[in-house]
Amino acid sequence: MEVNNQELEKNFITTTVDKFLNIARSNSIWPLSCGLACCSMEMMAAAAARFDLSRFGYEVFRASPRQSDLLIVAGTLTWKMAGPLKRLYDQMPEPKYVIAMGSCANSGGPFADSYSVVPGVSEILPVDVYIPGCPPRPESLIQGMLELKKKIQNPELGRKTSDE
């Protein structure tokens, strides 16, 4: 029986296993609930009914780092908290991602010149997506997560950063 290529393409999706896994991962990211400061309020609002992260598949906030694949650093990181945060990141299984939410996580924000604040979470962790704002609206957080989704599905989009 002759099989027409065009018929085949209409009824089957061909892809590599990697690509397929990436599509699966990006549609069901499990964030770790790790809100540090004010941005965590907007993160909670994004997970609540009005902005609804679950329409994208991201509402499953896990308490344990062993069960999550995304660390959203929402809030100011201090040197005292840097140790525990690194330990949390180390406990997460691969592949794992980090979103820096808000200006404090991006660069220290309004507290950048303080004696106790880490000027940006990228000092201790490799960051995948930076979300500006103080605090960013929940819509911004959702856009940031969609950028992460794009990045997961197309790994060549992200620059390679060295793992510290």
Partner: protein, 365 residues
């Protein structure tokens, strides 16, 4: 022969139930708590030191980020302290707008308290309802100040700008649906058997004990002590409003929760009166372009959602303060954690933390 001994369990700083980065080191005998020592400082950002290198108006956004859930109240306390130092008279319209914003923020803060309490005890629906209703208030704040969480709206000498034309109708709409909203919460939470079993008669503190621990705010009033700075030492124009101060009878966790729910109703009463009396006029006093208070120091306190919020400012006559100290209610209220948790189970400690309602931005400053 095996010997039982106590063990140390670390709760936090990352934990879904600790309201931010609070670490509680629990010494446990099985599931019973022997000692609960809070370790703070994971969010200590050095705001008081930063104040010394910012001008007075530049510090207002930092006050937003202390108790970030009742930012209007923080702005208000700071601005009133500077106005006290500089002897500035705030125009009438601005005074009324300040009261409306502060009380709206109190309601938003208590809604967040209710949502966190609900989710800590496992009542996810109530959390979503609380957040849904809080969004209405955040929309109002967005309308007046452009921001949802950290407003920088109340300024030295008045407020940032007058409210837009659709603010008052939108506020009226919120007030009109408030009773139905509270009735819904009564249904899901207040009368809920499980919530009552988890909160009633747990962690009872008498009035004297509460005072001896340095508590202020709803925690103190839950133990029956009638202490509300809006009544005792009224600031701004609070002496013009008729409202009552809800008090608790038993001083248990349930009272700490119920007092805040009743406070929301009282806040709506204040807002209604303020809306009726709202005059036309200026919203900002004549303040010098560069704010340079005379040398000296002053202390001023207000009743914020979590308790007595005080600002102590030392000025040396330059545009930047010499020293700013913030008397944070959540920081001092945490003194009660150890005393109250002894003898309780771990799950009760979670409930105690939820009704204590500490805000780590405020605890750590």
């Amino acid at each position: 022969m095996p010997k039982a001994q106590t063990y140390i369990l670390n709760m936090g700083p990352q934990h879904p139930s600790t309201h931010g980065v609070l670490q509680v080191v629990l010494e446990l005998d099985g599931e019973k708590i022997i000692k609960a020592v809070p370790q703070m400082g994971y969010l200590h950002r050095g705001i008081e030191k930063l104040a010394e290198s910012r001008t007075y108006p530049q510090f207002i956004p930092y006050t937003d980020r202390l108790d970030y859930v009742s930012a209007m109240g923080n702005n208000l306390g700071y601005c009133q302290t500077v106005e006290k130092l500089m002897q500035i008279e705030v125009p009438e319209r601005a005074q009324y707008l300040r009261v409306i914003m502060a009380e709206l923020n109190r309601i938003a803060s208590h809604l967040l308290f209710m949502s966190s309490l609900a989710i800590d005890l496992g009542a996810t629906t109530a959390m979503i309802y609380g957040f849904r209703d809080r969004e209405d208030i955040l929309d109002l704040f967005d309308m007046v100040s452009g921001a949802r969480l950290t407003y920088n709206y109340i300024r030295i000498g008045g407020v940032m700008a007058d409210v837009p034309a659709d603010f008052v109708p939108a506020l009226q709409k919120f007030i009109d649906k408030f009773p139905a909203m509270m009735a819904e919460y009564e249904n899901i939470l207040m009368g809920n058997e499980i919530l009552q079993a988890r909160l009633k008669n747990i962690a009872v503190l008498s009035g004297e004990q509460a005072l001896a621990l340095g508590l202020t705010g709803p925690l103190l009033r839950a133990s029956g002590v009638d202490y509300d700075i809006r009544k005792i030492e009224p600031y701004g124009i609070y002496d013009r409003f008729d409202f009552s101060v809800p008090l608790g009878k038993t001083g248990d966790n349930f009272d700490r929760y119920a007092v805040r729910m009743q406070e929301m109703t009282e806040s709506v009463r204040i807002i209604q009166q303020a809306m009726e009396q709202l005059p036309a006029g200026e919203v900002m006093a004549k303040v010098p372009r560069m704010i340079k208070p005379p040398a000296g120091d002053v202390y001023h306190r207000i009743e914020n959602s979590r308790g007595e919020l005080g600002y102590y400012i030392v000025s040396d006559g330059t545009p930047k303060p010499y020293r700013v100290h913030v008397r944070r209610p959540s920081f001092i209220n945490l003194q009660m954690l150890d005393k109250v948790c002894r003898g309780l189970m771990i799950a009760d400690a979670v409930a105690v933390l939820a009704v204590l309602d500490p805000l780590m931005g405020e605890v750590d400053c």
